[in-house]
């Protein structure tokens, strides 16, 4: 059978989701952002919520996320995306609002905003790309940079005494009663991508069902920042990131009711 006979409309099994724009992304070759963007476009399309989904893009490499998915967007100041999303979701409860943030944005400068948005149980989805480095500014140390990891600002490797510990913020979020679903995923293999897609879909369904904050960390690569080829970067991630940032669900349910959380509310 000739290839020409296979490549026909009726045999199509996989193509670009319609909500993903035709623009070629500004991301480096092999960057995980592209896969996660695609998954978001697929999930939004699949759930039929294009007209009610509002994306909030961060400061960092994904600042231009709004160029690639055909929905309404708002671009937030560094770290403030969860507050911006809170503002939108509170005045427009019918909308499905998600933030898309990197590790510097979410786990460093925006720690207060993410903790409090999740603690209030805002009905939003948070997509957290953790590649353990600042990509946009040229590969500096991130809060999630591993001990010993070389970056532009830790040229001899991250040093515990000088730089402190890598931050497992997803585990912290998992402790908050306002969080409905907290999961850590990756997109380095076909199976991982399919699991990540399910986690994202569940998160959007949670937001629609007003179950509280859903938070999906995607352990990602930054081949440019790590100075590795995309294929080597995946390998480095498996060997070094996964032992410290283990893949899997951390919490799956819905935000706590007052009674679940404390024995009782204080009476007025």
């Amino acid at each position: 059978m000739d290839v020409k006979d296979i490549i026909k409309e009726e045999n199509l099994v996989y193509s670009k989701p319609s909500l993903l724009s035709d623009k070629i992304t500004h991301y480096c070759p092999g960057c995980s952002h592209g896969v996660v963007h695609k998954l978001l476009a697929e999930v939004i399309e699949e759930l039929g919520i294009q007209e009610k989904t509002i994306g909030v893009s961060p400061v960092g490499c994904a600042v231009f996320a709004y160029n690639y998915i055909e929905i309404d967007w708002q671009e937030a100041a560094h770290g403030r995306a969860p507050a911006v999303a809170t503002g939108i979701a509170r005045v427009d409860p019918d909308k499905v609002v998600f933030t898309y943030q990197g590790d510097g944005d979410l786990a460093s400068i925006g720690t207060a905003e993410i903790m409090h948005a999740a603690n209030r149980g805002e009905n939003i989805v948070v997509v957290f790309i953790n590649n353990a480095i600042y990509g946009m500014t040229g590969g500096q140390m991130a809060p999630t940079t591993l001990l010993g990891q070389v970056t532009a600002t830790t040229p001899c490797g991250r040093d515990l005494e000088r730089n402190g510990y890598p931050l497992k913020i997803t585990e912290l979020i998992g402790q908050l009663p306002g969080a409905a679903y907290v999961s850590r995923q990756s997109v380095h293999t076909p199976a991982a991508v399919r699991k990540c897609r399910k986690a994202l879909r569940k998160s959007f369904e949670n937001a629609m069902a007003k179950k509280g904050t859903s938070f999906v960390e995607v352990v990602s690569t930054c081949s440019s920042g790590w100075r590795l080829s995309p294929v080597e970067a995946n390998k480095w991630m498996e060997e070094n990131m996964f032992p410290f940032y283990p893949i899997g669900d951390i919490k799956d349910g819905q935000k706590a009711e007052a009674g679940d959380f404390m024995q009782q509310n204080l009476k007025n």
Binding site: T53, E75, R80, G87, V91, A112
Partner: protein, 364 residues
């Protein structure tokens, strides 16, 4: 005649917000303006008009919630006091850069730093020259009474939406805390989702319809040629404000030899000073800028042809005096422009003002 009540300036900000159809308030407690959010929470407007009121984790979060809700085309506001406004500066710059309407109330206290909780007007520069990074301006309204605290909420929203620009009500601890009789406005219904969509759907994040391209709220533009165009558009907007929106009050300026220039609480004090001076036979008038940006430069320039001199009265180290001098000198006039003020939360007395006037302008 509308409903009359005896209210605090801060309380009336809350009441006016509910009545003018405000969609949301996001804030963080700080003295001397915490009554704004306290009043809103006690009024529970979510049960009456559907207005959202949320206590955020910080001023930084508050202003970014405002940014988000404003991006959705909603009438949204926050309030704070000086140190809190400094924290909001980044967010305000984003809001100005993304061309969104919102209302910010600054009930000023004395600085710098943590300073004092007593009234001050030391944030004049910060408010009228932008306050955050980049070339932007806020529409700045300076209320001098509890009634104006009420009236300016609606006015600030009107101007903010007209120009798609943040508007600030620049009050101070004295006006925020004092009680006066106030006539409350009628209730205006909040806009429905359909109305917001029809009016602001061309730019707001109302959800991408098949019929239109996606709306993106952003202040980012990496192409310098386009960013210059954005900036030129902003500047044109500020020029238009200067042309159409200047507001001021002139009290007994017609026959004045000397004119006091003062806003907000200082202007209230100066009203008494005018009376005291006139009783002494000194012909003094008061020019009270109501919009601090756009600044009433032209009326001051016109007065410069008539009077012997000006004195600004400010609860700061002399900030507005620069704008008064610019107004006078740019009109080619050379009248002396002096300043008198008290700092650190101290409110000048009417007598002190007259004394300063006599020393600096008449005796000098």
């Amino acid at each position: 005649m509308g409903e009359l009540r005896l209210m605090k300036g801060n309380e009336v900000i809350a009441e006016a917000a509910i009545r003018c159809g405000c969609d949301a308030y996001f804030g963080y407690p700080i003295t001397p303006q915490s009554e704004v959010m306290e009043t809103l929470m006690a009024r529970e407007p979510w049960n009456q008009t559907g207005m959202v009121v949320l206590q955020a984790e910080s001023e930084v979060a508050s202003i970014n919630m405002v940014y988000g809700a404003a991006g959705a085309g909603k009438k949204v506001m926050t309030s704070s006091s000086s140190p809190g406004i400094s924290l909001m500066a980044e967010g305000i710059s984003y809001i100005a850069g993304a061309e969104l309407p919102c209302v910010i109330v600054n009930v000023q206290r004395g600085g710098p730093g943590l300073g004092t909780i007593q009234p001050s007007q030391a944030d004049y520069f910060q408010s009228t020259k932008g306050g955050g990074h980049g070339d932007y301006r806020l529409i700045v309204l300076a209320p001098a009474s509890v009634q104006e605290m009420h009236d300016f909420v609606g006015l600030a929203f009107e101007l903010a939406f007209k120009y798609r620009n943040p508007a600030m009500i620049l009050a101070d601890g004295a006006i925020g805390q004092m009680m006066e009789k106030v006539e409350l406005g009628e209730f205006v219904a909040r806009q429905t989702t359909e109305q917001v969509d029809a009016q602001y759907g061309s730019w707001a994040t109302t959800g991408k319809k098949k019929s239109r391209a996606k709306n993106v709220i952003t202040s980012l533009e990496l192409d310098s040629a386009l960013m210059e165009q954005n900036n030129l558009r902003f500047q044109e907007k500020y020029r238009k404000m200067q042309q159409d929106e200047v507001s001021f009050e002139a009290i007994r300026c017609e026959d004045a030899d000397y004119v006091l220039v003062a806003f907000g609480s200082s202007a209230r004090i100066c009203q008494k000073s005018v009376e005291l001076a006139r009783a002494k036979g000194i012909k003094v008038g008061l020019l009270r800028p109501i919009t601090l940006f756009p600044f009433p430069s032209e009326p001051i320039a016109r007065l410069a042809k008539q009077v012997k001199g000006f004195m600004t009265v400010e609860m700061n180290a002399g900030q507005m005096i620069e704008d008064v001098r610019l107004a006078v000198n740019c009109a080619g006039e050379r009248n002396p422009v002096h300043y008198f003020g008290r700092l650190g939360g101290i409110i000048p007395t009417p007598g002190e003002v007259v004394e300063a006037l006599e020393q600096k302008l008449i005796g000098g």
